[in-house]
């Protein structure tokens, strides 16, 4: 058979591509649920670490902790809010909100969907965990920050990155950097504002943490992204300060509350 004829080449490549596509489609659908479960677990882990749960005393992730269990036990409510602090109904904070999309909307000034996770700590305190996403030096950076019930004290924070420089910018994902945020105040000249990452050292400022030496750009990116997201969350937290009873709730619980009120 002439393996160099046009007909042969076209038929050969078509069959090959169809077989390969079938194998890949099969593998993709067979592994999809496991991959999704892994991604969900990684997200639960970051959220719980932001609330200082499942951590070793140094603030590193505890390898033995069951983050899915922790998440299910402690996250008592979730909601999605807009930039005016109003709850957006029908959107699931965990499943439906893509931080990257929201980051782009924030940049362009479009309407945003901001996730809030309410976490009940072991001692009964309730903290609100909010998200952050931004552009680092080489790629995306993202993180979560837990805010105490007084709406201005940071309970904990966690950051991660796609491709910051190892040993320099990558240190934002390490305990010595993110544990600095604990106990810092979300204030800016007496108003609500974000915690700043200060080059040259925070020198004990209650709304600032030390930047990473040698990683000026990444530190700046964390600071700016936090400022951008807390500016968007500002309405939510100021509303809560003026009306502390307003609960953060997901749809199911809202429905329950209305029923019990009747």
């Amino acid at each position: 058979m002439n393996t160099n004829s046009n007909t042969y080449t076209v038929i050969y490549t078509t069959i090959l591509v169809v077989i390969v596509a079938a194998i890949l489609a099969f593998a993709s659908s067979a592994l999809k649920s496991r991959q999704q479960a892994n991604m969900d677990l990684a997200k639960m882990k970051t959220i719980m670490l932001a609330a200082n749960m499942g951590q070793t005393p140094e603030g590193n992730a505890d390898k033995k902790a069951d983050f899915m269990q922790l998440y299910n036990d402690h996250i008592t409510a979730t909601c999605v809010i807009d930039a005016s602090g109003n709850v957006i109904e029908g959107v699931d904070a965990f499943k439906d909100v893509d931080l990257k999309t929201q980051f782009n909307n924030l940049k362009k000034g479009l309407p945003v969907q901001l996730p809030v996770y309410e976490c009940t700590m072991d001692d009964g305190r309730k903290v609100n965990i909010v998200a952050m996403y931004g552009a680092g030096l080489w790629g995306a950076i993202w993180g979560y920050m837990a805010v105490e019930d007084d709406n201005q004290t940071v309970a904990g924070a966690i950051f991660d990155h796609a491709s910051e420089t190892p040993g320099l910018g990558a240190k934002i994902a390490e305990a010595p950097f993110y544990t600095q945020f604990r106990g810092k105040k979300l204030t800016d000249n007496g108003e609500f504002g974000s915690v700043k990452v200060i080059k040259g050292g925070a020198n004990g400022a209650d709304n600032g943490v030390d930047a990473i030496s040698g990683a000026t750009m990444t530190s700046k990116a964390v600071s700016e992204s936090l400022a951008m997201w807390f500016n968007a969350y500002k309405a939510y937290f100021t509303n809560r300060t003026s009306a502390p009873e307003q609960p953060c709730c997901d749809e199911a619980e809202c429905a329950e509350n209305t029923e019990s009120n009747e």
């Binding site: 080449t9 490549t13 593998a27 991959q35 892994n38 677990l41 990684a42 190892p166 040993g167």
Partner: protein, 206 residues
């Protein structure tokens, strides 16, 4: 079967130190031993399996679209590995990030297919692919061993250098920060080539 198929990829024909192929990934994934090991295994599976499949197909492939056919087969194995890692070793897959996908561009694979698999029977091709993948992996692991030990003081994530030696605990030792950056991988790789050439004199140019 010629015994050289087994031994050549490790020493006289090592893909990294002699043929200087696959340098990019050997700089990128050698910060930690775990990453290097998974990468080495992934490349070995891809080279071995794609060499086997393409050797089986070698008499049917139209010459004009030969490279594209090779690419399709290699890409299929790489995507499969990527998917499996994402499902069963999520943390490792996150650590290796794009470098698993970039196995497609690893010159060792296409090089072995073009140079060997298309002209040889399936079994020798499989062995050739596997040995070249392992030869690549061997260098990766040597480099990663030194980078992780001297850069982070750990091996496979376990602390090897006693914590009391460190400066912050009142000792005298500090991790070498340069080790975890790519330039040091290149320097280490240079040292490996140097050592190999001073032992195997037949590699030295006259």
């Amino acid at each position: 079967m010629n015994k050289e198929i087994y031994t050549k990829p490790f020493f006289l024909g090592n893909p990294i130190t002699v043929l200087v192929l696959g340098i990019c990934s050997s700089l990128a994934v050698t910060v930690q031993l775990k990453g290097a090991l998974v990468m080495a295994l992934s490349v070995t599976i891809v080279t071995a399996c794609s060499s086997l499949i393409l050797s089986l197909l070698r008499n049917t492939i139209p010459t004009r679209v030969r490279i594209i056919v090779q690419l399709v087969v290699v890409a299929m194995f790489v995507i499969l590995i990527d998917q499996v890692l994402k499902a069963f070793a999520y943390d490792t897959s996150k650590m290796l990030s794009v470098y698993i996908g970039l196995i497609i561009t690893n010159c060792i694979i296409m090089g072995r297919i073009e140079a060997f698999a298309l002209g040889n029977k399936p079994w020798p091709s499989f062995v050739d692919g596997a040995c070249n993948g392992l030869g690549y992996g061997m260098i990766l692991i040597i480099v990663a061993f030194f980078r992780e030990l001297l850069g982070s003081g750990t091996l496979f994530g376990f602390q090897i250098i006693p914590a009391s030696w460190y400066l912050e605990n009142g000792g005298w030792y500090m991790n070498n920060g340069l080790m975890i950056l790519p330039p040091m991988a290149l320097i280490l790789l240079g040292c490996v080539v140097w050592i190999q050439r001073s032992i195997q004199k037949e590699l030295q140019e006259k």
